[in-house]
């Protein structure tokens, strides 16, 4: 049974991007043709504070291998304070995931401004590489959801 090993591992990666900074940063990466692997799929949210820990767990449950959340730099939030709340929430959530034995490289928060197309692309490249090094997310995947 060497099906897994023969096939190149293509991770599933969900990126939550806030509409004002990070999504625009991703747009800038696009218009600057700064490539990053196609494994990353972006979900647009109004603000990083809209990202519910349930969304992240849900992604893992459904087979995501990595989840990254991007928001405006602290202090630059379009809604002034959203990313400060997000920062606390994600810190606690990541710590909890680490506590239950999930490899902590599977989750990441990065602050990316609308001007940081380069940073966005770099971050995604790094993150995908990290997920590659961790391999498939076998610990958290809900077996029923494999198709």
């Amino acid at each position: 049974m060497s099906i897994e090993t023969n096939e190149e591992f293509r991770p599933k990666i969900v990126a939550f991007c806030c509409n004002w900074c990070s999504y625009a940063g991703a747009d800038l990466a696009g218009s600057s043709r700064l490539s990053y692997p196609a494994d990353v799929k972006i979900i647009r949210v109004p603000c990083s504070c809209r990202v519910n820990p349930m969304f992240i767990l849900r992604a893992f449950e459904k087979g995501a291998d990595g989840v990254i959340m991007c928001g405006c730099h602290p202090g630059d939030c379009h809604y002034s304070t959203g990313n400060y709340y997000a920062r606390r929430r994600m810190t606690l959530l990541f710590s909890m995931l680490d506590y239950i034995g999930v490899e902590n490289g599977r989750t990441r928060v990065e602050w990316v401004s609308a001007a940081e197309g380069v940073k966005f692309s770099q971050t995604m490249n790094e993150f995908v590489e990290k997920i590659h090094s961790l391999g498939k997310n076998v610990r958290l995947e809900d077996l029923r959801c494999r198709s």
Binding site: K12, V14, N19, W20, C21, Y23, A24, A26, D27, A29, G30, S31, R33, L34, S35, Y36, A38, K41, I42, I43, R44, V45, P46, C47, C49, R50, V51, N52, P53, M54, F55, R58, A59, K62, G63, A64, C72, G75, D76, C77, H78, Y79, S80, T81, G82, Y85, R89, S113, A114, A115, E116, V118, S121, C145, S147
Partner: protein, 662 residues
């Protein structure tokens, strides 16, 4: 079940070159809820929009997914198109298969796969969309202009002339900006002060314009139509109402050794000063860091000599809080620092100067009273060399990657003026390209060459070597003659690159306006919305958006004014309907959501509810949709999930997550 139409855009070849558009159509058509799928060259074109509208009508679509460019680009376009066909605009979602897919991936198969997944996520979301109705918010009929240079002044005048109140906030003690430092202006050579001063006076005298000089924007909150801004009026230490502007205090001030910023530090000023003679307001400020009274407690000369009794050492900074409907950024530029360009010997020789310094030297009110002379020994230079593109067009980390745009023209101006006034002085210009697009610009440059005998050499200067005799040896190349040139010069003028005012980053952050890697403010659309920031209600005027000369700045200032007036003319704005909404049957009334709301949009009411037959009075959260901006902080804080965000609901986001992970 929704009836969804999927529209896949080729964007010419922008998408179609990397994404198999037909395949996306084919696979999207199989998704649940999809009853129609098609592709088209340009979905955003009128014909493309017509296709969407036709499908909405003919297939009774209840939802639309457009697979195209970023929603930041055309979401509004497609929503309006759908609305015209009778569909609620919020039933339209965009799958970004250009910026997030075709433009960053090269492999067709891979990009197509990703595009299909992005389309699926958008379809899954639309399946859970609900029609939304926008609310309304009021518009404060007052504009704030940040920066009192020619851009800010022009925008202020135009807005004020339309009948709206305008406040200008200027950091320095006087309005006027960079233009007030210039001597003559190209291509007509009229004196800068002669055309600027009347505008400054007009702004100061305008009944609708209120000028805060020596002031800075401290804090900005609110949103389009309803910004609240704190302005710090720095303590001037001079009572503006009492001061007559007689200038005696400046004459008598014993602290005279402070580098004069207005003259680029080429001479000194006093501790109590007005930056220049035509300053508006003509009221000095005390530079407390350099004032003997503030440093030692002794002195007080200015107070003694002031007959009007205007000196007030106890004056404190004052915070003015004001509401605005629109904000215009006009923060301008500065020249870059030359510390990374040792080869031009700027820091080694006083006779190597920047063009802006030359501008002050040429000016009758400048440090040399308008006489062209070497700053080292006061002698008139006989050989003058101009070096173009110093720090502009650099792809290394020493300079700026962009063209500063104004240097070619002002150098031609300087060269011409010097040749005119000092015919014995030879002028050589080392250039890479001479860029003169603009009305009468090339003619102007040619006049410098043909009529005034300015020697233009195509080639860059490699280094400037100060000589023991006080002259400068300029080593440059002449690419036409294919020669290396060694030229003795008495003075070298560097066409130094310009960069946005360094404060702009702080201001952009306060305004949540985006800024590019060079610190220029980003426009909402590079071509079609060049004077608006992507952040609603923020407009861009002058060089803060990109390098510009005076006529362009004035034109853009007017355009920004028109956009601001267009906003101020409205009595009400329709608000984003993607606001938070509390399900009163689930709400615990625990106040957790109100604790995280940055807008104070959540209040609590004791409300009679009917929870599946149980009638009781409950404390429940109520969202004020005029205040709610839709950030969603409350939705995550809410433990029961009663609070949800319309347009980005929990179920919608989860559906997207599921679609991506499927």
């Amino acid at each position: 079940m929704q009836r969804i139409g999927v529209f896949v855009c080729h964007c010419g070849s922008n998408i179609a070159a990397t994404v198999d558009v037909k395949k996306v159509v084919e696979l999207a058509a199989k998704e649940p809820g999809v009853v129609h799928a098609e592709d088209y060259q340009y979905m955003c074109s009128e014909a493309g929009q017509a296709k969407i509208q036709e499908a909405i009508r003919e297939k009774n679509l209840t939802g639309v997914v457009v697979c195209s460019c970023s929603p930041r680009m055309h979401e509004a376009t497609f929503r309006k198109a759908a609305e015209r066909a009778g569909l609620n605009p919020y039933m339209v979602e965009i799958a970004n298969i250009r910026e997030h897919c075709s433009w960053i991936h090269k492999d067709m198969e891979e990009a197509t796969k990703k595009a299909v997944i992005l389309a699926r996520a958008a379809i899954a979301k639309v399946n859970l969309n609900a029609p939304l109705q926008p609310g309304e918010s009021r518009v404060t009929k007052r504009a704030l202009i940040i920066g009192g240079g020619i851009a800010g002044i022009q925008t202020a005048l135009d807005i004020a002339d339309a009948g709206y109140e305008v406040d200008i906030v200027e950091k320095t003690p006087s309005i006027g900006g960079r233009m007030s430092q210039l001597d003559k202006t190209f291509p007509t050579l009229d004196c800068s002060a002669c055309i600027l001063t009347p505008k400054m006076v007009e702004a100061a005298a305008h009944e609708k314009i209120n000028i805060y000089t020596y002031s800075e924007v401290e804090h900005v909150s609110g949103f389009v139509g309803d910004f609240t801004v704190d302005i710090r009026k720095k303590a001037r230490s001079v009572n503006m109402d009492k001061c007559t502007g007689c200038g005696v205090c400046q004459e008598k001030c014993p602290s005279k050794k402070i580098p004069n910023e207005f003259n680029r530090g080429l001479n000194n000023r006093t501790a109590i000063y007005t930056p220049f003679a035509q300053a508006i307001p003509n009221v000095p400020v005390i530079d407390r860091e350099n004032c003997i009274k503030f440093k030692t407690g002794k002195c007080g000369v200015c107070s003694k000599v002031c007959q009007a009794g205007a000196i007030d050492y106890d004056q404190q900074d004052e915070i003015v809080t004001q509401k605005y409907g629109a904000i215009v950024v006009a923060t301008g530029f500065d020249t870059i620092k030359l510390d990374k360009y040792d080869e031009y010997a700027y820091s080694q020789s006083k006779d190597v100067i920047t063009s802006l310094e030359l501008e002050r030297i040429m000016n009758a009110a400048g440090p040399t009273k308008g006489h062209l002379e070497r700053l080292s020994d006061g002698k008139a230079p006989k050989e003058l060399v101009f070096i173009q593109c110093v720090g502009s067009r650099c792809s290394d980390d020493r300079g700026k990657p962009y063209c500063s745009k104004i240097c070619c023209m002002y150098t031609a101006k300087h060269a011409m003026l010097i040749r005119d006034k000092y015919p014995d002085t030879n002028v050589t210009v080392f250039y890479i390209d001479v860029r003169t697009p603009g009305k009468n610009f090339d003619e102007f440059y040619r006049r410098a060459v043909e009529q005034y005998g300015v020697n233009y050499i195509k080639g860059q200067v490699g280094k400037v070597i100060p000589q023991p005799d006080g002259s400068l040896l300029v080593q440059g190349s002449d690419l036409i003659d294919n020669k290396q040139i060694l030229k003795k010069a008495d003075m070298v003028v560097l066409a130094t690159a310009i960069e946005p005012n360094p404060d702009v980053r702080k201001i952009a952050t306060m305004l949540t306006a985006s800024i590019d890697t060079n610190n220029f403010l980003t426009e909402a659309h590079a071509k079609l919305r060049p004077v608006e920031s992507p952040t609603a209600g923020i407009f861009l005027s002058g060089v803060c958006q990109g390098p510009k000369d005076i006529p362009e700045t004035v034109a853009q200032a007017g355009a920004a004014a028109v956009k601001a007036i267009g906003l101020l003319a409205k009595d009400k704005l329709t608000t984003n309907p993607c606001t938070a909404k509390s399900d009163e049957l689930l709400c615990n009334g625990c106040s957790t959501c109100a604790n995280v709301c940055p807008y104070g949009a959540i209040s609590y009411e004791d409300k009679e509810v009917n929870d599946h037959g149980i009638r009781e009075t409950r404390r429940v959260a109520v969202v004020n949709t005029a205040l709610c901006q839709g950030c969603g902080a409350c939705t995550v804080a809410c433990p029961s999930g009663a609070m949800d965000l319309q347009g980005f609901s929990n179920r919608q986001i989860i559906a997207e997550v599921d679609a991506i992970c499927r």
